[in-house]
Symmetry: C2
């Protein structure tokens, strides 16, 4: 059965991807910079190969999004930018490490507060940048004249959402984060009883205390939305959109949400008809390693290798932690390949190779790879699942804590805390993940389930993007509930009305009773 | 783009359907009789052609489910049966026609009460029939020994749900109705503010009065569940399942819900990760018509033909209604093919052909067909959408009222009331649907959207059935919320706790204030 399906899928993929689309369409893309761009670029390449004309709006100062590309035409836009750089995150990391010394209950709030400080300023900058565009008649005429068929955007930063709504373009989101949480919180019912709010590090199985924390966190995040994030855009909304429009209503008018999630990783939860899951769409089969790496990996013998990458943050790990990690690695029988930038640890063993960059998918897909030491970024977690490699999570910031909790809950990861890392604790965790077969078995089961789909996540993404183009939107998949005020959505007006009727009926009955009594008294 | 996809889908379908599955599996099927069986049988044929061994449990007295088949082995079970027959529905039809003379607000409650009367008795019979099976050691040993890999059942009648849970089999539902409503109400959040409760004839766009009605109907249907339906099974649950088990918890333990719905027809609403939509999976391209029908159809010239079928109920339509319909048809320039059993109407025109049976899909798929006069059964509605034929709805019972409302809301149908049908009103409605091009345009747009999927609904059903077999279930897609008590699910316990804390804090503050005041007074 399985082989039939595999064959089918291969045929499907080949057919889908080799044929350029017959009618060309014009797609306007507003990506989010940084690691989000890697995701978006991957889709753009495929869309380009299928004959679509792609225009990318990029900040003139962007480091990640190339100005010149064979895949797309870019338009430089003026983005008000923060003087933010990696230093912001490095400083934040130290604050977060302080937070993590607090109790389990408190630390999530402490960490979220660190994020709140960034969010306020960030959204103000984004709103002003969007206003610069809408207020620029030359730019807007160019946009109108281009007659785009689709807005494809990552609403993690809402400039694309605002511009697409203003231009009344059918819209597809390539999304995982929106506003201040995971995308479902904006568009699907999310009972706080079993759906952990982003940032809580809770699972879907919560005891009473967990649920108290989750509800309080829900209140915190709603407060953040209502008093910090949405108001940042209110001036822009008033000037350019019909009365009553807010950022959320623009977001909810998207036609299709391509959500970068898969329920082998996310906890199962309510979803909506216009949500399509493409988690892991960036994963690919490994290519052969460069010669030097291949020689190094092969030299590991039966023990195999361990891969470590913490993204761009490693230079900010406290020196003590780096030394502890290096010392622990030195005691392992495995070889280690460590993506590392900065001063070489004094405790580095002969078995450990420091590299400035590593071909992550090719190493994770290599049969000799035994474990992946990672900070818990979403892309890395899906790659670990795709290639079936167990994880030692060393989460540092943002969603990384939640991400590694998801893999741990499924028995596919151990978590090590940066705040208290020692050679011993790290060594014990790595040894456990490498030597205890359950981690490997669990992640490989996840891998089988993740790959067991009628269509690959990338082909699914392409299908729905083209679906929205050829059908000029997908309003029949959008719930009417999105346009209701909150008191109507929850039927609080109806409840109040029924309560009044009930009270009136009870009072009337009481009156009649009293009357009867009085009549009786009179008769007496 | 579209042609590429079509080609892909064809290749996919051919590959999927031509290859028998490599590992055979044993599937236990508990269908629902009647029109539900037609749906199930269609899937069973495909599963058989893919090499699965199928065992069907049927009532020894079943009229619809053949005992002997080349597709499956059947096992006769003793079903306690009602003396119910078509007469029950005929009597009910008259009661429902009475209901429909009441106001829009009231009539839904009146009709639902007619259904309630059937439901109570029906579920008692079903519970006792299920008990007969579980209490029969010879039958149960046979079931255990057969080592089935899957329970495939229509939970419209829950014998398969109960037996599958008892045997601890991975379970797939082929479902549209469960307990007393459309299947989503049992397993997905369903805000009453925009999701019309089954039986209300409301759409997703409700004004305040509509929402009051919907909330009251919600309360009615919950009462029916809690005090009529679930209690019917409580004795069975106590004797055969762990404490705390009820019918709902067994239903919610299904691995995959293949829901016979599509959002070109249903209003968009929250859904769950283990729900897969297969609405219209029974639809097929038309075959050529039998010679006599083909001649009749061709003789209609450019005017075309109108098809009428009211399922098995037409003999029960009041004589007056039948005469009015026949008289209206007689005035049309179209030819009419009418599935009709009973005494020939005196007003029958020369253009109208009465038949005892008609090849519905072949007629609906014929280019000369202009309109479909139908009672609004789900299968017929999906066939109308699939073939792009506008509908004149003449709903009589059950979900038919809701079904035609859905097509009307999308501009693809007119509704005629059986309670007040006259020649004039019927003629006006049919003429409107045939002559006003908007009905045809709308239903053809629905048809395009319905067919615009990465995989056909039938292939989707087969994929997920085999998915559950090869993965031995799909618990990772099942939400934890299903196992929470209702007060925890809605966080009412947490709300109460937080309220207590808040009150305590306020009281304490007040006390301190008073103390201060007193101290001040003392000082004075």
């Amino acid at each position: 059965m399985w082989t039939t399906l595999s064959f089918t899928l291969t045929v499907l993929s080949l057919v889908l991807l080799s044929c350029p689309s017959s009618d060309s369409s014009r797609i306007l893309v507003v990506p989010v910079d940084g690691s989000h761009w890697l995701n978006m670029e991957h889709i753009l390449r495929k869309l380009h190969s299928r004959g679509h004309e792609i225009t990318v709006l990029r900040s003139a100062k962007s480091w990640y999004i190339p100005e010149n590309s064979t895949v797309y035409t870019s338009i430089n836009i003026r983005m008000l930018e923060d003087e933010e750089d990696l230093e912001v995150y490095n400083r934040m990391l130290l604050d977060v490490i302080e937070c993590r010394k607090k109790s389990r209950f408190i630390r999530s709030f402490c960490q979220q507060y660190e994020i709140t400080k960034l969010l306020g300023k960030g959204h103000e900058i984004l709103a002003n940048s969007a206003a610069l565009l809408l207020d620029d008649p030359v730019f807007m005429k160019k946009m109108h004249d281009a007659q785009f068929n689709l807005m494809l955007t990552d609403p993690g930063m809402p400039i694309g959402v605002i511009l697409g709504s203003y231009l009344k373009l059918p819209t597809v989101f390539n999304v995982r984060w929106i506003n201040n949480g995971e995308s479902h919180f904006a568009m699907a019912p999310s009972p706080a009883s079993y759906i952990p709010i982003s940032g809580t590090e809770l699972t879907d199985k919560m005891d009473f205390v967990d649920r108290v924390k989750n509800v309080l966190f829900y209140i915190y995040s709603q407060t953040e939305l209502q008093f910090l994030i949405y108001p940042a855009y209110s001036n822009l909304m008033e000037r350019h959109f019909p009365p009553g429009t807010d950022l959320l209503s623009l977001e909810l008018s998207a036609d299709i949400w391509l959500v970068r999630a898969d329920f082998v990783f996310e906890f199962p939860r309510p979803t909506m008809p216009n949500v399509v899951y493409i988690g892991g769409f960036q994963c690919q089969e490994p290519s052969p390693l460069p010669n030097d790496l291949q020689t190094f990996v092969e030299s590991s013998g039966d023990h195999g290798v361990i891969i470590m990458s913490l993204g761009t943050f490693v230079s900010a790990l406290p020196r003590k932690a780096t030394e502890a990690i290096a010392a622990a690695f030195a005691e392992l029988p495995q070889k280690v390949i460590w993506k590392y930038i900065g001063q070489q640890p004094t405790t580095l063993g002969n078995n450990t190779l420091l590299v400035k960059w590593l071909p992550q998918k090719d190493l994770l897909g290599h049969p000799k790879t035994r474990a992946f030491v990672a900070h818990g970024g979403t892309n890395g977690m899906y790659e670990a699942i795709y290639h079936g490699v167990p994880v030692v999570g060393l989460p540092l910031l943002f969603d990384q804590f939640d991400n590694v909790v998801r893999l741990k809950e499924r028995g596919a990861a151990r978590i090590v805390e940066a705040k208290s890392i020692t050679k011993e604790s790290f060594l014990e965790a790595v040894k456990d993940v490498v030597e205890n077969p359950s981690y490997r078995e669990n992640v490989q089961r996840l891998s089988r389930l993740h790959r067991d789909t009628p269509m690959s996540p990338m082909d699914t993404a392409l299908f729905w993007i083209e679906y929205v183009i050829r059908n000029k939107g997908a309003p029949h998949l959008r719930a009417v509930g999105y346009s209701l005020p909150w008191y109507s959505y929850f039927c609080l007006d109806v409840a109040a009305f029924l309560l009044v009727i009930l009270v009136a009926l009870v009072c009337k009955k009481q009156q009649q009773k009293n009357k009867k009594k009085n009549n009786k008294k009179t008769l007496k």
